[in-house]
């Protein structure tokens, strides 16, 4: 059951007209709050300092060993090899050869993952066929900067084909 409110009436203890006491209590409360805040801040700073010290102790900085460096290098090499777009590259070379009515015979495709370049060795019946193949590769969206590096007629072959070496970079 709800209880009737207390009647606070007193001729001597007029608590509602004691601004001095109220102000003193307010000041004391604020001082206490500031004191607690400063103490908290000091404790927080100390805790952060100790955390930093603890972190330095538990995670010492160690120089990497030669074996670890070698492992890391091998891992990076494997990662680069895996990054070679083999399917696109071979598909594009095959398509170029097909466009020239198979006048080009691919002998070797040697990619260099570190340099993102590929070296192509092929045989054609004549040098103009090699240049046509080069022009076709220059239109490719997979390769850029295709260049003819060398060409050599194979005199020991009865049909005297021309062996050419091309170099290009692949796009990412």
């Amino acid at each position: 059951m709800r209880i009737p409110r207390r009647v606070r009436l007193d001729f001597a203890a007029e608590v509602h007209r004691a601004p001095g006491t109220g102000a003193a209590l307010c000041v004391a409360g604020l001082a206490a709050a500031i004191g607690v805040g400063l103490a908290f801040d000091a404790q927080l700073t100390e805790r952060n300092r100790l955390d930093a010290e603890l972190g330095a102790i538990s995670r010492p900085h160690r120089a990497a060993s030669p074996a670890a460096l070698k492992q890391a290098e091998e891992a990076a090499t494997i990662e680069r090899e895996l990054a070679v777009p083999w399917s696109q590259l071979l598909g594009e070379l095959e398509a170029a050869s097909h466009d020239l009515s198979s006048k080009v015979a691919l002998l070797q495709v040697a990619p260099d993952a570190a340099k993102r370049s590929v070296e192509i060795t092929a045989e054609v019946r004549s040098l103009p066929d090699a240049l046509a193949y080069l022009e076709r590769l220059q239109q490719s969206k997979v390769l850029r900067y295709p260049m003819l590096e060398s060409h050599e007629r194979k005199k020991d072959d009865p049909e005297h084909p021309v062996r050419v070496k091309l170099a290009a970079e692949w796009r990412t």
């Binding site: 709800r2 209880i3 009737p4 409110r5 009436l9 007193d10 001729f11 001597a12 203890a13």
Partner: protein, 271 residues
Amino acid sequence: MSPLWRDEIAIYLAPRKIALARRERGMKPRVGAATEIAVPGGSIGDVRPAFARLAEVLAEPTWQDAAARVVIADPWARYGIVNWPATRLDGDARLTHARYVLADTFGDGVADWSVTLADTPPGRAAVACAMPGQLRSTLEDTLVAARLKLVSLQPQLIVAFNAWRHRLPPDDAWFVSLDEGSLSAVHLTDGAWDRVHMARLSADWMLELERLQAFGRLTRAAGAVGRMFVDAPVWMRSASTVRGSELEWLTDDGAPGDQAHELALLQRVYA
């Protein structure tokens, strides 16, 4: 001894009777001494006999060197309900407003009386009380002589109501405080006072009892419960049981049966 643990003397001051109880403080406060004394020649219109008798009693070391909580009998108090003012008033202006309300009810006789207001939340009506101006100054002079520091001065109705309020319903109920020669009645609505009446009683208690019952019936709204709770001395309650009554008497089952009403009231100062 620390002032926080200073003993307290509770004093009930009435025109024809005074009562005192010394409360020893500490981890387990208890009443160390209590007494009730008649005031020969005392009357409502003259406070001097009561204070003269009080000064005699306070000459005893038992009643000295303590904090004093004083309860003034209702014949020396006037009550009123002061509505929350429509305009914002400071403390002094609110007291002036309360003095105007009391003068409107009781006449110019209370013009030079001391007035105080209950501490009330903003927007709610407040209880105002007045008592003779000379009473407080005379009281303080009397207490100082006995090295008593006045820490509380309350009228009887306030002390009785605060002590019994946990037994009262919050709505449509009367709380009546009776003593020899006076009646004070408070009506409760929404847990707060909304009406207060005072009356002098004649020596014929049986007649006054019938008037009280009639008062309860007349003020009861049609269909309302309108219960009436009465705080009164034991002898008045005994008389009422003979006549039968619609009144609900407030009794403390834990109090000693032979304890004087005034001393029981002083116990309730700490309620």
